[in-house]
């Protein structure tokens, strides 16, 4: 239920490309999927990206979803996490306790996440902004859908890829609420009472995995091996995006020195996406 459908609102940036930013995101995500991997996908772009990978370089990738369908070969794009379309070709029909136990047992190779905010350490907020205590209860200035399985995936998948719309209010220095932990988290110390917060690397909490890349509507970001801070790896040059655009649409200071133009989609990739995977144009409409 990590819902990426706000991407449907993304407008095509006028460049020389004959493809959209959404298609570019899907292609970038698809290329990160390795053959044989178990990929935990929600509804939306990651699902399409995974199908694309299966058509091309990762025929043995296994798609599964939190609802419990395993290794689906769906013929039509699911629109919801338990969509009956997932059933076609599945070899296992389980439920959440089964699927998430695979995460806790480190059996999920790759998870995809979206959200409303991401920060430089890859923490994601899909719960709400403007969090505050009011009358003893926590409330939000603006509330979103909530974690669903996002916190579980972010904390226990062996690697995580984040897909987000690139806007200044979304790429923030520090998320208002950590739904899904990234590389460094602001931890509330159980022992020292209210309000005491310290920045802790995930490995100190005994955690494995961590966010590997952020695929946005403007480019692909990765995390520095040393500092674990986000930097720009590539930008969608053909869509008219420059490194400066990314900097301007990111509210923390993001490194763009090493950024290169992203490899555009191939004709084969676009054909598969448009004619075989989402011919109904449910996700890939402009």
């Amino acid at each position: 239920m990590r819902c990426l459908h706000h991407h449907k609102e993304v407008k095509h940036v006028n460049g020389k490309a004959d493809y959209t930013a959404l298609e570019m995101m899907v292609v970038q995500a698809s290329r990160m999927i390795r053959d044989g991997e178990v990929v935990f996908v929600g509804t939306g772009l990651p699902m399409i990206a995974s199908m694309l990978a299966k058509y091309l370089h990762a025929p043995n990738a296994i798609l599964c979803c939190e609802a419990g369908f395993w290794d689906s070969r769906f013929l039509h794009i699911p629109m919801t996490v338990g969509d009956s379309r997932w059933y076609v070709g599945s070899t296992w029909c389980a439920g959440q306790s089964y699927m998430f136990s695979l995460l806790q047992r480190r059996r999920i190779d790759l998870g995809f996440l979206g959200g409303a905010q991401v920060d430089k350490y890859g923490n994601i907020n899909s719960t709400g902004v403007g969090v505050q205590l009011r009358d003893g209860y926590y409330v939000f200035g603006k509330r979103f859908e909530g974690s669903g399985g996002a916190a579980d995936i972010a904390s226990m998948a062996n690697r995580v890829i984040i897909m987000m719309k690139h806007e200044r209010r979304r790429f923030v220095e520090r998320v208002d609420y950590i739904t899904s932990p990234g590389w460094y988290v602001w931890l509330h110390d159980f022992k020292h009472g209210r309000g005491r917060v310290r920045l802790v690397p995930r490995w100190e909490l005994g955690m494995w995995g961590g966010p590997e890349a952020v695929i946005s509507t403007m480019g692909v970001m990765r995390f520095d091996e040393e500092t674990k801070e986000m930097y720009v790896e590539s930008y969608y040059a053909e869509l008219g995006i420059t490194p400066e655009d990314i900097k301007r649409n990111t509210s923390f200071d993001i490194k763009v020195d090493e950024a290169e133009p992203a490899e555009p989609p191939t004709e084969r990739e676009l054909e598969l996406l448009r004619e075989h995977i989402d011919p109904e144009h449910i996700f890939l409409r402009e």
Partner: protein
């Protein structure tokens, strides 16, 4: 010893003001919507809702004023739109609204139900470390703990793993709802329940509960379900009531029987979006589709045969492959 009864009778018998209620299914799929509608009609209030994957029915119960405590991880309609009005409810805060939503994650809830199924008081987990879900400042049930029935004494506890020195482990309290309601494809009069497709953890939803109501598309004989018993998810022992409620998951889908209803869902999202500015819009919808409708039969009559047929599943695929699904350019409803 048949457990077959009408839906209203079953709800009156098992669900009361203040009950801890679990509604099975996931997101928009195989959710006991007819039961949720009927609970609203019966005027049951102050429900404590808890399940592994809340969504459509829990939002509706919140907006209709039937629920006051929710332990959940998510509320929304996925592609169909945001949980309008509900998000306002949460933003206004429990003091003003009397409605509390307490955030957990899927797996935290799932494990709590597993503990409930097994009959153990708590269960450890490593999930969601580093998430504000474990932030001890964020607990919207703090003033109910130790006071309200079946609200756990603590949101969680941390202990040292007695089998591994120095390792801190988080414990989650078990869940045992008063009543779990599940919509299934088939059930027998004795309560044996067969679910096709992914079961969405409906086994633990049922097994953890004190009472279980099954609404189903078809009641079939026990002997029918004794063929390939491996296909049956919930054994008779857990089930108290079996109610035949065709299209009981509408506007959600029910694998093998019908698909979700994109026209209805679009409309539901529209009235809640407009309802954020003008609550009357939602009130009228609720009156038209729930309160003013006598029963689920009348609801189906109102939807009309042509609509129901348009949603009917292809038996080979389990869903309606020709269903129009481009939400921004839907043809008129049949």
């Amino acid at each position: 010893m048949s457990k077959v009864m009408g839906l209203r009778e079953a709800l009156k018998r098992y669900v009361r003001d203040g009950s801890v209620l679990c509604l099975g299914g996931i997101s928009l799929c195989r959710r006991p919507m007819a039961a949720a509608y009927e609970i609203i009609r019966l005027g049951i209030r102050d429900l404590h809702l808890i399940d592994i994957a809340p969504g459509m029915p829990q939002i509706l119960l919140a907006l209709a004023g039937s629920a006051s405590v929710v332990e959940g991880c998510w509320h929304g309609y996925e592609l169909f739109g945001h949980p309008y009005m509900w998000r306002n409810l949460v933003e206004r805060g429990p003091k003003e609204t009397g409605y509390r939503f307490n955030d957990e994650s899927h797996y935290m809830l799932s494990l709590r139900f597993v503990a409930g199924w097994l009959g153990v008081p708590f269960i450890p987990t490593y999930t969601a470390r580093g998430s504000d879900l474990w932030n001890p400042e964020f607990d919207n049930l703090w003033d109910l703990r130790g006071k309200r029935r079946k609200v756990a004494a603590k949101k969680f506890a941390v202990i040292e793993n007695p089998f591994k020195e120095g390792e801190l482990v988080r414990l989650l309290p078990a869940i045992n709802p008063d009543v779990t309601i599940i919509h299934a494809q088939m059930a027998a009069p004795d309560g044996t329940t067969r679910i096709l497709g992914a079961h969405f953890d409906d086994f633990v939803h049922a097994a953890a509960a004190d009472h279980v109501i099954i609404t189903c598309e078809q009641i079939v004989s026990r002997d029918t379900l004794a063929v390939n018993p491996e296909m049956n998810l919930i054994p008779s022992v857990y089930v108290d009531a079996v109610c035949q409620v065709p299209y009981g998951a509408h506007p959600g889908s029910c694998l093998g029987y019908y698909d979700y209803d994109p026209w209805f869902l679009n409309e539901l999202v529209r009235v809640t979006r407009e309802g954020e500015r003008n609550p009357e819009v939602f009130k009228r919808w609720l009156e038209e589709w729930v309160l003013g409708v006598e029963s689920h039969d009348a609801y189906l009559e109102k939807l009309g045969l042509r609509r129901l047929l348009a949603l009917r599943a292809d038996p080979a695929l389990g869903y309606a492959p020709e269903l129009p699904r481009r939400l921004h350019e839907m043809p008129p409803p049949p």
